[in-house]
Each structure stands twice: as C-alpha cells, then as structure tokens.
Symmetry: D2
C-alpha cells in the first residue's frame, strides 16, 4: 500500500501519521519525508506491507492532519496513458514495448500522431493509433480535433513523446490531466526548437534531455528528470540528434517510472521525486 500526503508543515505530522499506521498494525516498510523549509510545505510518501480498510484509514489520517492535507492512499494502481507523437519512433517504441510486457506500470490506451508514420508500430502492439494532422487547418481546429479524440479515452497522463507541435495555453488550461513532455536538451539551456543545432553552435561538451510537466510557459514546467551524455568536437548536429535519442528515451522512461510508482509531488514550479 502506498500513501501520499502533502500539507502545510507543522510539528507532529510524522507522529500523527505513523501513530495511525501503528494503531492499524501496519508496518512502515519505507518512508520518505521532505519539508520545503522556505515554503513550509510537508511531503510524505510511505509504503506498508499490508492492506486494510482504505476508507477507514483515510478518515483516520484526515482526522489527525491539517485541513489542507491532500491524502492519497493507493493511487490508481493500473494507470492509463495516451501518447502523442510526431515522426520519431524511439520514445514511443520504448513505451510500447514496456506496455506490451507489462513493465510500464501503465496501459497505453491510445497513440495520437500528427503524422501517420508511427501508426504501424502502434498497431503492432495492438494500441489504437489516431492520425490527427495539423496541416491545412488553424491551430484552433487542430486542437479541437485533438480534444474530440482524447474525449474517447480514460487516462491519467498525456505523454508527449517527441510531439513537435506547441500546444496553446487554452488547450493546456482546459486539459484536466497531467501532461508530460520530453524536451531534447538540458533545460533551461536551449529552450525552443532545434536545441541540438543550438548546442552545436555553442560547442557544448554535454548534451541532455529533460522530462517535465507541461505548463502554459513553454519548456518551463516542473522538471521530473534530467540526464546528460558527453559529446565532443567530432559530433555534428546529426550525430547529436542520434546520440540524444538514447538519452531522451532513457529520461522519459525514468520519469514515467517515477510517475507510475507515485513517487512525484508537484509544488509550485518544482517536483519532489522520492526515488
């Protein structure tokens, strides 16, 4: 059983929670706690080896915690995601393979692409692919069509796996699910388009990738995971793209793992990730 709690910090929160656990004869197998001392916010994730009456436990925790406490017990165990893509296969294929072998921690309920390039691979894994082109239409129309299609699915996260269109603030504001993006640079370096070209011109010795929540400010949402690899003078923008794909795939996989295991809190523009 996983329990997540977030609230204003004060003395006695861990005691309050752990007493409830002990009272229910639940052994705490692992507990991670963090206090943002600047903002005075408390975050706790714990796992126990045992099941109990979840509603009763929720009530008991609510009774001992501050009124603002957000308590989640056993978050949606089999999560569902929709993946949006453009033409690049590497992140999607990695997700589909894990989905197929039940190691993603989530079910991929649909793939939406603004090109049809990745239809074949999606369908190989028996995942419905919806082709919504952005061509010859306004952004409004394109996004309205995306929404129409998304309406047909129940999902917890929308994963932008190298989806190369910028979603409007309106789309984001009206989208009630968490949206995750993989950006092909070490943010905040090289925001916007063509980060590898920018990296080439600047002559950097490392390139990176960043998985983050999408907010209305492009490339500025809370960062979940970042990794880098070393490059050198022999890399062209083309070979950077190729090397970068390995790291993009790896970063997105790690971020999704953290999300699917309920290890990520968002607070302000930052994440707390209890690895």
């Amino acid at each position: 059983m996983i329990i997540l709690i977030q609230c204003k910090d004060k003395v006695g929160l861990v005691a309050a929670v752990s007493q409830v656990m002990a009272f229910n004869e639940l052994n705490i197998l692992s507990m991670r706690e963090h206090v943002d001392t600047i903002e005075g916010q408390f975050f706790l994730r714990l796992s126990t080896d045992d099941h109990t009456n979840v509603n009763k436990l929720h009530t008991e925790l609510k009774n001992v915690l501050p009124a603002d406490a957000v308590i989640v017990i056993n978050p949606q165990p089999e999560k569902k995601i929709v993946v949006m893509v453009t033409k690049e296969y590497h992140c999607l294929a990695d997700i589909l393979v894990r989905h197929h072998f039940n190691t993603l921690g989530a079910k991929v309920v649909a793939v939406i692409g603004n090109y049809d390039v990745l239809q074949e691979i999606s369908e190989k894994f028996d995942v419905p692919f919806i082709h919504v082109t952005h061509e010859n239409k306004t952004k409004e129309t394109f996004e309205a069509e995306l929404k129409d299609n998304l309406k047909n699915y129940q999902y917890d996260f929308l994963v932008l796996a190298k989806f190369m269109r910028i979603l409007s603030p309106e789309f984001l504001a009206n989208h009630p699910r968490n949206i995750i993006n993989i950006h092909h640079s070490f943010l905040p370096a090289f925001t916007g388009a063509s980060p590898y070209k920018q990296a080439f011109v600047r002559g950097v010795k490392l390139i990176g990738a960043t998985a983050h929540f999408v907010t209305e400010h492009l490339d500025e949402g809370p960062i979940i995971e970042q990794q880098i690899i070393s490059i050198n003078h022999s890399y062209t923008p083309v070979s950077m793209v190729s090397a970068g794909k390995e790291i993009e795939k790896s970063v997105l996989a790690k971020a999704l793992k953290m999300l699917m295991e309920d290890r990520v809190f968002v607070f302000g523009n930052k994440t707390i990730v209890f690895e």
Copy 2:
C-alpha cells in the same frame, strides 16, 4: 540535531519516535528510514531544527523503543581522524586542504606514514606527521609501533589514505576505532595488489575506486562508496594510475563526508548510507 536509531524491526517504531519528537515540540526536518526486510532490521536518521535536553530525549526514546535499540543523539559533532599513508599524496592532500578550511567535518589530529615522503605536506598544514617505517622489522614490531603512536591520539576514525601495507587481523581486532580504506578498484573486481595492472591485462573499459570499512578479510569490508570512470584502449597501467587517483580522491572525500555527517549505518557486511 541528528538522531540515529537502529534496532530489530517491528510495527510502530516510526510512530514511537515521532511521538516523542512531537511531544518535545521538535519539528522533523528530514527523516530517512530503511527496513532490511530480509534481516528484519530497522534504521532511522532524522534531523530536527531545534535543541532540547539531550539526556531527557534519549531516555524518552529508550522508553518507547525495543531493548536492543542503539540510539545516538548528536553524534560527536567535531570528529577527529588519524590518517595513515605511504607515498601517494593525492588523498592526503585533499583531506588536509578540507581540514585546513574547516570543511572536512573532522579534525586531522595526526598523519602516520611508513615513508616520510608526506611529512612536508602534513606539516605545511600544521598536522603532526609520525614516520613509522616498516623496513627491517617484523610486521609485529611495525604494528606495535603503530599502536604505540596511535595511543597518543584521541580519534574517531582511522583513515587509510593509500596506506599500502596490509594490517594483520590482530591489529584490526584490537583496534577499537572504525578503520576506513580507499581501494583503487571497483571491488570486488581486482582485489589485492596492483589492481590497475590487473585491469590493464583484462582490458576493462571502466576503472573504479571503493571506500570501505576495513575488516580482517582483506578488501571485503562493508562498502561505503564507489565510483568509476571510463577508460579505453589507449590507457597504459601508468595512465590508469593517474586517472584512478582522481576517482580515489573523490570517492574517499564522499565517503568521509557521509561518515562525518553521520549518514552511515553498518549492518552485517553492508552499509546503509542515507545521502
């Protein structure tokens, strides 16, 4: 304030501890807990923002914890170490510099060398250097002289910073302090002497270093920290030694930091390190 607790695991330990904290109006700023579920052992480290009556707190914790519980509150804040060396300067100099600028978290009370090569650098930093040669004497005599000299100092840890003599099981058994060693390989690969030569012959693509507690079984004590660096076919044993020094220095520094900040538990032949 730092509190460390280790005992047999059972339901309610976190509750018991955190209640005591709450009762004393102590806010828990960070808490790391680990249960070794195979051995059924409980480990906890917490930091609070406030001071209180330490003896009273200790008693209160003792009262609510199992009889076997080891409780340490505010472990020795200014630790003391003795460093033993042979001829290589890189680890010692790194330690002395941190000592000098008060960022080691410990005071270096003495350096003992079986050669006098590092006397000058030790004395530059006003640390007494004792030259105890191993030449022309038995191991028993050598170690008896070491002990005689060590007797003159109060210290918490004996740090073997590239001390290239093997200490006898007798010496170790009779030495009541923790002994830390930096081994120049990624243990358990390449135990014993000349690990870089072994690494060269085997053609590995990574070399590493390991900081570990010293036990009577050579190179087999509990591991505190390990790091590696990439190498390739162009490395000779000599350039491996040179590259390895950077990683040895870094691994030992990290291990000492963890130790000085009281983040390391030993249990059986393993460590729990709450980074």
Copy 3:
C-alpha cells in the same frame, strides 16, 4: 568509405597509407590510429568522403604495407545478425525496434530461443523465430540442433541477448562467426550465474553490465563496452535485476553500434574501440 588496417608496428605506416589515399585524391575525413607499444601492433581506422576502385586501392595498400597487414575496405555494409535469447525481452525488443526502423546498422535474420516466450515479439517484427529447447536432451544434442538451425542463415555476428545457457568450447571452436554476449555485471566482478544476487550479498554501490566477445573461457572474452549505474541499500536482488535491465540494454546497443560501424578491433584478449 571505411578502411581498417592492423599489422605489426613500424615507422612509416601512416605515411604509407596516407600517401596511397592522397595519390587517389581521397580526402581523409577522420583517422584514428593506435599503437600497442607493448605488443608492437598497429591499428588504423579511417573514413574518406569518396569512393574509388576498391580492388585497386586494396592492392596499392597491400603493396606499401607489411606482409602481415590485415586490410579491410568497406566492411560488409549491411551486416546480418542472429540473436539468441532465453526469456528476457528487454535486449531483444530494443534490437528488434532498431532493426525495424533501420537504425541498427544490421538486419536481424533470425531469433533463436530455448524457450518460446519471445516468439510473439519476434514475429511482430517479421523476424523468424526458431524454438530450440534444451530440455530433455544432452548439451551435445541441443548444440547440434542450434547448429542445424544456424546453418540456414547467413550472418556476421551471433548475438547472445540474455541467452542463459553456457555454450560448450566445442560449439564455440566450430562456430566461425563472432559471438557477442551481454553479461549482467561489471566484469570481472561477479562472473557466472546470479551476479545481482552476488552484488546484493556484497553490498556494492554500483551495478554494471558488460558486452564482450565470447571465448571458450566463460565471461573472459575481450570486453567491448561497460557501463554502470548507482544503487544503494534500498535495492533488493529483484530491483537490481530491474535496474540492471536498463543498463544491459544500453550497453549491448552501444557495443552493437560500435561493431556495426566497424569501430572494433580485437587483439589478444582486448579490444581497441575507435569511438
């Protein structure tokens, strides 16, 4: 055009080669040279921007190089591989995805499994899967059946992608192709079976994976690529296996990339990898 040369070292080899190139108006775009000064062996890889009469070039190089020189011009551009597996999907699926999108640098002509678990994923990617069980038969019979099946395919490399049976020295001696294995530890630490269990018992802080050529001495062939990831006390053997899969996949992908791009020389029990 790629040119690979290996021979006994002597003065003037680079001059001899580069003169032939210049004479043919071929610009050298990149050149990597290594001399094993202990063994006195010379290795060279160069790429040029231009094509020419390969036979003529070969003859001209032969004329200026020592008699023992091994000269390869434009090694098999579209390589072919057979993959052998047991039950774990992660390495195979990664290879199949790259194969499908033409980024492997090789064509997977067949997959052989001693279980049929991975038949479905192979066939999804239109790669023939042959099930050769090892059960209820001698090792001789098993290996004879493997050989019978392998006979039906043309291939450059046999890739053991988590194939969990040990091949006999006879099989290896009579197999005229390069065999590549992914071993789930940082060799030479933890050879043999259950390396993660060994790593758990030893309490290491890093786990790794090694891609190597297979020789008759188990886990002792020339190493092509190694990588590691950090772990800590919270890892069980099970979570080590899970974390290890990511690194196994990555190490094998990197080793195959090096091989497919003709960047790997073998000499004695070591490799020279011109990344």
Copy 4:
C-alpha cells in the same frame, strides 16, 4: 615529442605530415586528426617516441603544408600560469597541491586575489600572492593595477579560479595570454551571477560546471570541459554551492590537464579537445 598542426583542409595533409615523419625515422605513437567539414579546417596532434632536430623538422613540415598552416612542435614543455581568485579556496588549493607535487604540468608563478583570504594557502606552497583589492576604486583603476602586477610575471595562461569580478572587454582585448575561467553552471544554462540560486528556483535535477576560454562576451567563450552531478529536491542553494565545488574543482583540473598536455585547439567559438 608533440606536434600540433592547424590549417585549411585539403587532400593529402596526413600523407604530407606522415611522410616527413617517416623520412626522419620517427614512429607515430598516436595521432588524432579532425576535419571540421563545415568550415573546411584541419586539426592534427601527434606524438612520437623520439627526438630529432626540431628546427629542421619544422622547416620540412612547413615546406609540405599550406601557407596558412600553424605548426607547433613541442609546445612550451614547462608551462607557467597565474591564478586569479576571490575568496573560495577549492579550485586554487587543488591547483597548488598539483603544482607542489609536480603533477599540474605547469608552474604556478603567482596568485592574485581581490581579497587576501587565500594569501596563507598560496604562501604555504611558496607561491607569491598579490592582493589587489577592487574596493574603493574604479574598474579602470582596478584593472590597471592587475596589469601592473601581471607585467612582473612570464606566464602562458591566466586561470580565473573562482575570480568573481567581470573583466572589461578592454582588459581582455589587451591581454595577450589565454584566459581560462571556471563557471559554476552548465553553460549556457544560468549565465551571469548566482547560477546555483537560479538552478534552485528552476528546480533542475542536475548542476554542472564549465571551464572555458574567456572572451569579451561574458560566459560565451569556447568551452573546454563540462561535467554535471545529480541533485534532487532536498538541495538548498547552500548545499548546491557545496556540491558544486566538487565539480568545479574537477572540471577545472581536467581542462588544465588538457591544456597543459597541448590537447586543445581553438577554432571560432569552439574547441577541439583530443583527449
């Protein structure tokens, strides 16, 4: 013997150079070549096992290479550096220790500080320390005093080892030596002051350091070396500074090693580093 060559690229350059080497009975032990195919520029570094008449060799190379070729044979073997600092000791102490044990590949001829905090450590290592305060004077006056002091020393590189004043374009333009800076972030992320504070606010999961040549555009000169370390939500700006120091020290040490071993070419705003 080390030979460095840079010139416009054309067919036959390697042949020309290696013929001269062969003619002089010089065996090429290692050779690194790079062609910037976009700019058409050729870079070569080679080492040979043998000495010869350097002037004669220079002339012979000049005769076979294009008129624009920059040829350096055996660059200044014992380089000299001046280090400029403010208050932080970690980079300077690392440099002084290597200097003292003759492993820096350079002699530190002087340290200049705008505070006197690091006078003691410099003098411990018998390196003259000059205190040039920036307080109560214009930037022009401050820099004029720096120049006056620098005039007294012969040196190849000016190393800014956490020198926290911005040098004016005039100073840089009139300073005929290479200036190296260590910047405490992964450039181009977080340029300017307080990069760790910026990193904290942005919630990044990695922090880095960058060693680069100083040009008139702040933080935009050619990058020599970059490294990063992982951080998480538990880091404050203060603990980031502390963790960052380890990486700053390491990056600067690596960059200086590359420079002292003559492995760095500058071309446009980039470096070619033949590791």
